[in-house]
Symmetry: C2
Subunit: 317 residues, 2 copies
Amino acid sequence: MPRGEFDLIDEFFNRSPQRSDVLLAIGDDCALLEAPTSEVIALSVDTLVSGVHFFEDVPAKTLGHKSLAVNLSDLAATGAEPLWCTLALTLPEIDRHWLADFSDGFHALAHRSGIDLVGGDTTHGPLAITVHVMGRVPKGNALLRSGASPGDLIYVSGPIGGAGYALEFLRNPELKADAFCLKCLQEPDPRVTLGISLRGLASACIDISDGLAADLGHILSKSNVGATIHLEKIPVAPQVRAYMESIHNPGFPLCTGDDYELCFTVPPHHQSRIDAILESLNLDGGCIGQTTNEPGLSIQSQQGALYLNRSGYEHFR
Amino acid sequence: MPRGEFDLIDEFFNRSPQRSDVLLAIGDDCALLEAPTSEVIALSVDTLVSGVHFFEDVPAKTLGHKSLAVNLSDLAATGAEPLWCTLALTLPEIDRHWLADFSDGFHALAHRSGIDLVGGDTTHGPLAITVHVMGRVPKGNALLRSGASPGDLIYVSGPIGGAGYALEFLRNPELKADAFCLKCLQEPDPRVTLGISLRGLASACIDISDGLAADLGHILSKSNVGATIHLEKIPVAPQVRAYMESIHNPGFPLCTGDDYELCFTVPPHHQSRIDAILESLNLDGGCIGQTTNEPGLSIQSQQGALYLNRSGYEHFR
C-alpha cells in the first residue's frame, strides 16, 4: 500500500485487534488471518458514494457506523458470524475531526459486533467508502436466497419504511422529523444475532436494502416460487403509518430502501420457534405472507390487490 | 447488495469460478469460500481513483488489468498464493463497451493468476475502483517488512523507473514514447511466483509502488536497520537510462512509483539461490546493496553520495 495513504489509516483506524485470529492487522503489505477450521468464509463488499447513498452533510460518526452496518447486514442475511473487515476510504481532503468521528462510529459498531478492521487504504478523490466484510458459518448452514419452498412463511425482522420516511423529511422540511426513523436511515442496527439464530430454521434470507418488494423478489426468483403478502401485516412504525395515510400510499413500505431488516422464509412447522426468537431479541417483526407455487408477487390488502408502480430503488435506472 | 448494482456485476463480471474452494460466488448476499486448512489468509485492499492513480483516457482493458495487478502485487510481497478477490466499481455512467473491456482485462489476469472474482458492487459516482484480494500462505512463512537483519543483501526483482518514465512521456509529448515503459505503467506483471519462491529465503519484502527509496524505507523502519545502496547497481531499462542522462537526474529510479517490482532482503548465504530463482523466472533483477546497523538510507554512486530531495509519491502531501 502506498505510504501517505497507509499513514492515515494507521493514524485514525489502527486499534488493537480484539480477535485472536488476527495475526497481523494494519501496517504491512497484507493482513494475516488465521482461517477458521471446518467452517466456510462468507464475504461481501459494498460502496457508499457521497450524494448517491448519503447526504453530503451527514454526521461523520453516523456515516462510519452505517458504512460498516450495511455490510454486516449482508453477513446477517447469510447467517454468518462477523470476523474481519477492511475499509477503503476516498477523501476530498484531510479533515482530522471528520476522520476521528468517522473512525469512532465505525469502531464502536465493529467492537460491538466482534469484527476487527484488519486493512485499509485512503485515497484522494470524491468522498466514497468501500467496506469489505468477512465472516464464518458452519458448512451447509449458510442462509441463501435460493432455498424457499412453496408454502413457506415469509417474515420480516422489524418495522419497514422508517429509513424511507427519514429520506422524505430530510428532503422536505415541511414534514415532521422523527428520531426513530432518522436512526433507521443513519444508524441501522444490522441483524447479525438474528441471522445466526436463523441457521437451520430459515429456508431463505435476504436483507432489505432496496425495498421489501424488490428484495423479496430476489428470494422468489432465486427459489423459483411466488408469494402472497398482506399489506396490513407489514410492521410499520406509527409515524410512518401517519405519513403513508397523509400521502394515500399504502404501498410505501414495499418500495422504500435502506431498512436493513431481514426478510426470510421458514417452513410453517418452525413458526413458533421463529416467533420466540424474534421476541427474545426484542424485534418487532412478524409473518407477512406465504410463498406459493404460482410465480410473481401478489400483494393483498383490505382494499383488494395492490399494484406497484416501481419495484424499489435501483441505481442507474 | 442493492439490485441494480448487482445486475451489472452479474452481467459483466460473473464467470465460472476456476477454483474448487469457491462454493458460491456472485449472486447472493455473500460469497461462500472454503477456508484453507492449516494456512494463513493474507488480505489486501487498494483503491484506484480516476485522475489520481490513472489518466481518465486510459484504455479500459489495461485499467482492468492494473486494478487487479496492484493488489496481486501486495500478495506477492507477502509470499501468498492468490485465492479470491472482489471488485467495487464506481462508474459515472454505464458504458457497456468500457465495462466489457475492463472485465476482459481484469479476468485475463485473474485467470492467469489462479484467482477468482467472488463478489462485487457497482455504484454510481466518479470513476473509482477498489479491489480486495485474499491469498494463502503457510503459517510462519509470510514475508513481512519487519524481518531484515543488518548485513542482509537488498534485491530488486527487475528494472526500476519504467512506469515513472511512461508518466513523463504521457504528460509531455515532446518526450519519446516507449512500449516497454508504457506496459510497466499500465499493465504491470505482479511478481506472484517470485514472492512464493522467496518463502523461507527472504528476510523482508515489499512491493515498489511509491518508489524504491520510500518502499525500501518501510523495510528499514519496520526492521530497525539502515541500508547502503549503490545507484549504478539499480537495474534500469536503456530508454530510462537515456532519459535520466538527458535530465541529469541519476536518482530518478529511486523516487518514481508504480513499478510493482519486489524489493526484498536476504541473508548473504542465500545469494546464489536467489540469483538462480531470478534467472529461472527470467527476471532482470539483482542485488543493489546491503542493510546496515546504522539507521538511515545511504545512497552511494560513482560520483559520491546522493541526497534525495523527495522520498517518493505520497497522496495528500
